[in-house]
Symmetry: C2
Amino acid sequence: MAKNKRDIDRQLKQTEIEEAAAELFVEYGYEATSMAMIAAHADVAPNTLYWYYKNKDEMLVAALNRLVAEFLTNIATIQDQPLDQQLLTVIEHFEEASKLVATVHARLTQSASIRDWHKQFHLMLDAVFIEKLNSRGLSATQAKMMATVGTFIIEGLLSNPHTKQQRPSVLAWLADLLSAKAP
Amino acid sequence: MAKNKRDIDRQLKQTEIEEAAAELFVEYGYEATSMAMIAAHADVAPNTLYWYYKNKDEMLVAALNRLVAEFLTNIATIQDQPLDQQLLTVIEHFEEASKLVATVHARLTQSASIRDWHKQFHLMLDAVFIEKLNSRGLSATQAKMMATVGTFIIEGLLSNPHTKQQRPSVLAWLADLLSAKAP
DNA sequence: ACCTGAACACCGTTCAAGT
DNA sequence: ACCTGAACACCGTTCAAGT
């Protein structure tokens, strides 16, 4: 809600910082990206970052939210493709940020902000999955579990190096599993 | 292959260091455990650790190998239990070290030693899975994929906080999937 | 309100020196 | 061969001071 010049400048600066952070986190990973690097890319002094964010974890959360927003607009455009194709697109979208999957899990025990973000993210992802599972005659409990399993498999593919053949075969298997009607 | 007093002392000291490292990594996580903490627990100067290990990642590898050795002797004792019970035991065994699952994935991009260890670990785990899938009429390709999926689900359960009900239901589902004959 | 220079405590790691 | 004290470069973060 930018109301005047001052607010607009603030938002501009903040956007600049978050873009720098997201870009560097994705490219080099969280740990290998120092606050000094982010500051340099955003053209501010390192300690200025602490005016906008409480600490490095909060900056990661801001960057993650940017990436998720991109993902949500992306997925809206492929609604009508077959399920395994949709899954492949999702993986390819997150692949460039695959380092951050591991980072989020690693920081779960260290940071409450990351914990909160992670919880919300999975709720969102489960909702997306469950919506796709709609009208397949699954009970709510079954649908929830299939969503969980689907998420685990996607995370697995993102977290672990794997061969070119492994990915489509796992995804085809998963799509098949998700498409099957309840017994 | 300890051949004399000197070698025995060396092995003793090294064991002491690795035990301290494994204990602290498991309790506090990799990042929150400093080389200084490990050194203090093993009663040496911090830089002494670098006589035995190239760097902190190599120390993590040594600690991981210790934990895996424990796991292997553990799993041998539960061969005759039903599959979902075996899976539950595996998860419970790794749960105390669940922080390290995320750490290994996070350091995959940073350290070649971790990359090597991770590759070997999954080869080992796949072999265990595939052996359990034996004589179920699966093709080698199918068995390999089921092993991959099984691993991903276990990693998912270890990496993500989940409810008390979620775990047994996912594991029962997985055990069922693994037990089913090929079509 | 926003930004900075300087400093702080800590980190993994190295090196020259000891035994 | 094994171990150490001292130092190095870097890290995230804080604080007092500026505008």
